[in-house]
């Protein structure tokens, strides 16, 4: 184990190298681009024995790795924002084909107006396709999650594509120390991809994706449903094994922070969790009994973990960086259905378009939430508010 200072993007590229990925294809988009630039360099230098396919669009990037994955190769692609939306059709094709494609999504707002900064709308907009979706909150975790993505996705109990989301700039372009395991150890932990049960080779006459009875479509979706349920267990198992092997403290579907005796819970995902944790520390010093849950995975959704934690608190505050227009924040919507009305939930939408949210902002939000709850102002069982301190309300 050696410590190296890396940006989020180069850490992901390093994980791809150590995973022995065989086919990479991508189309440049800020803030993802550095990942694939670095990988292209590794391939041209011979540090990674792989084929790098320079395509003309994100749709084709995912199509290339789909074809390679369907033919047995270990693959990788990366994108952001509009690139991810341009892939949308292929996302479903990959998931329904049960191929363990791994993709880094460097999160970025969706235009117009043009905006290259991070919110979570891109990754959360595609949550229903059948991809496992993880959110990293540090550069080291982006590295770890990328490696784990191959073990999880390729596991026979799962066989699903995995998306590793990392916040644009906050993680992708920020340098942090990463404890890099030895490559030989990684190779031992992550063996080459198992051969497919079928071979797309001359002389083997079969078709993938034929028209069929409607019941087949429904059954295949049901298999994905069950694989997602199993994926919860596999993610817990694989990440715990990785943590033991490579000396990491965080694993599982969520990370709890000062939750033990908490009466109020803050729930969120992604890089800004660190700022929210600072706010929680400050509020604890002031005597507020508040804890925090960071979602490491939003698909599969950690229903069991959240239900258990929510059952022992008075109220939950979900801070969302993506919104489902006409309803509420994306994660809040999922959480509300998971806790089934057993606890009061307040939802704050913040940080859209990359608007900076500081520990002090979090402190204001959390304090306001606790005060509202205690004064009885949170009268309905869920409630959504937009945090925009620069807007003067009349």
């Amino acid at each position: 184990m050696r410590v190296k200072v890396l940006m989020g993007n180069t850490a992901v590229a390093e994980a791809v190298r150590m995973a022995g990925v065989e086919v990479i294809s991508a189309y440049p988009i800020t803030p993802q681009t550095i990942i694939v630039e670095r990988i292209a360099e590794m391939v041209e230098r011979g540090e990674l024995k792989a084929r790098y396919v320079r395509v003309e669009s994100e749709h084709s990037a995912l199509a290339v790795v789909y074809g390679a994955s369907a033919s047995g190769a270990r693959v990788f692609t990366a994108t952001s924002s509009h690139g991810l939306l341009y892939m949308y059709e292929m996302l479903w094709w990959v998931a329904n084909s049960r191929l363990p494609v791994v993709m880094a999504v460097v999160t970025r707002a969706i235009g117009p107006p043009w905006n290259i900064h991070s919110d979570h709308q891109d990754a959360l907009t595609v949550r229903d396709a059948g991809w496992i979706i993880g959110f990293a909150s540090s550069v080291e975790e982006a590295f770890d999650m990328t490696l784990q993505a191959y073990r999880v996705g390729e596991d026979r109990r799962v066989l699903l594509p995995v998306m590793v989301a990392l916040d644009g700039f906050t993680l992708s372009h920020t340098c942090e120390p990463v404890r890099l395991p030895e490559e030989s150890e990684v190779r031992g932990w992550l063996p080459p991809r198992e051969p497919l049960p079928f071979k797309l080779e001359p002389g083997s006459y079969f078709a993938v994706g034929n028209l069929g009875p409607d019941e087949v479509t429904m059954e295949l979706r049901w298999y994905i449903w069950r694989a997602m349920e199993r994926a919860k267990h596999v993610i817990r198992e694989v990440s715990a094994d990785y943590a033991r092997r490579f000396d990491r403290s965080v694993h599982g579907l969520i990370e709890g922070f000062r939750v033990e005796d908490a009466k109020y819970l803050v729930v969120l995902a992604g890089a800004w969790s660190g700022d929210a944790m600072e706010a929680v520390d400050m509020l604890r010093d002031e005597g507020y009994p508040v804890g925090l849950v960071r979602l490491r995975y939003v698909r599969p959704f950690p229903v069991e973990e959240l239900r258990e934690l929510a059952s022992s608190v008075r109220a939950v505050l979900v801070v969302d960086r993506a919104v489902s227009m006409g309803h509420m924040g994306v994660i809040a919507g999922d959480l509300v259905s998971a806790v089934r009305g057993k606890v009061t939930v307040k939802n704050v939408i913040a940080g859209l378009g990359g608007v900076d949210v500081s520990p002090d902002d979090f402190k204001t939000m959390i304090k306001g939430f606790i005060e509202e709850y205690e004064s009885g102002a949170l009268d309905s069982w869920f409630y959504t508010e937009w945090y925009m301190p620069w807007v003067r309300r009349g």
């Binding site: 065989e22 199509a63 290339v64 074809g67 033919s71 080779e201 006459y205 078709a207 028209l211």
Partner: protein, 306 residues
């Protein structure tokens, strides 16, 4: 590659009783492909008629290993299959995209252009029935001027068709040819030659469609042949620097040897509304096209070979 040779092949490509329409030109093309490359090919098929022709699960209508893929993705998927087969020691496999005009010339055009630009070692066969037939005969980028379709139902298509083979030739790829399901030996020969070329290959296959063009289903081959005999469809081949007009089209360099265009037009319901003036205009465009192809042949013969 004679017709008896094709008939004697063990691999068939198309299995009896598949769900193609009667008189379907794709079946003819797929039969030739299967007989030439059946034991070497992996097929990638985007949305289109062949998505249906390939059959209903758990059965299959085609004798190929086959990957069904989204409409605009086929040449990119084929690039990925190619990369993985090469890594897995199956460099001998021929990765074939079997696409319609929509998948290649329209919705999937950027993907096709990208794969050609990368000179991917794949063979793309564009089986062009000159409209979106699988969705019920809507006008496509290759539908001919004036043809009636369900989205050009009364006046006919108001725009000229694009020439996908020439567009792909300008991508500086090693092999591009046109072919016709009316000339299976010529098609077989082109598929074989293309399969021996390393890099990007494209065959633009003319595939007259009985329900789409509104002619009787026993006349597919007749209509295809008339397209060539009237000069409306020109068979040519570009192979690594050599550009030549193919034998079935050779006599029709001489305009006087071409059959009257009306013989081709009168069989087709989609062209039944044409005026004499329209026919003269189409004839003029055909002559223009011949001039271009003859000039290209001259250019490649005098400049590129030397």
């Amino acid at each position: 590659m004679s017709v008896p040779w094709l008939a004697s092949r063990r691999t068939r490509g198309v299995l009896p009783g598949n769900p193609a329409c009667s008189g379907c030109p794709h079946n003819i093309g797929l039969k030739v492909l299967g007989r030439v490359l059946g034991d070497k090919a992996v097929l990638v098929v985007p949305a289109g008629c062949t998505s249906i022709i390939a059959g209903y699960w758990p059965r299959g209508g085609l004798e190929f290993p086959l990957l069904h893929v989204p409409f605009a993705s086929a040449p990119a998927v084929a690039s990925g299959v190619r990369a993985a087969l090469d890594l897995g020691g199956r460099g001998d496999a021929i990765v074939v995209v079997w696409s319609g005009d929509g998948g290649a010339a329209d919705i999937g055009f950027a993907t096709l252009s990208g794969a050609a630009t990368r000179n991917e070692d794949i063979l793309v066969i564009v089986s062009d029935n000159e409209a979106y037939m699988n969705t019920g005969v809507q006008a496509s980028g290759t539908t001919m001027w004036k043809a009636l379709t369900t989205t050009s139902p009364i006046i006919g298509k108001t725009e000229e068709r694009k020439d996908i083979a020439l567009i792909m030739l300008m991508h500086k790829v090693p092999y591009v040819a046109t072919a016709s399901i009316g000339y299976p030996s010529d098609l077989a020969e082109k598929i074989r030659r293309a399969s021996e070329v390393k890099g990007f290959k494209l065959i633009h296959l003319h595939s007259p469609c009985p329900p789409g063009w509104r002619f009787d289903s026993d006349k597919t081959v007749l209509v295809a042949k008339l397209a060539v005999e009237t000069g409306a469809w020109i068979l040519w081949e570009y192979d690594r620097g050599n550009f030549r007009i193919s034998p079935p089209s050779t006599p029709y360099r001489d305009k006087s040897r071409r059959k009257p265009l009306t013989e081709y037009i009168k069989l087709q319901g989609r062209l039944a509304h044409l005026t004499e003036e329209d026919v003269r205009e189409i004839e003029r465009r055909i002559d223009e096209n011949w001039n271009l192809i003859l000039e290209l042949e001259k250019y490649y013969t005098s400049h590129v070979k030397a």
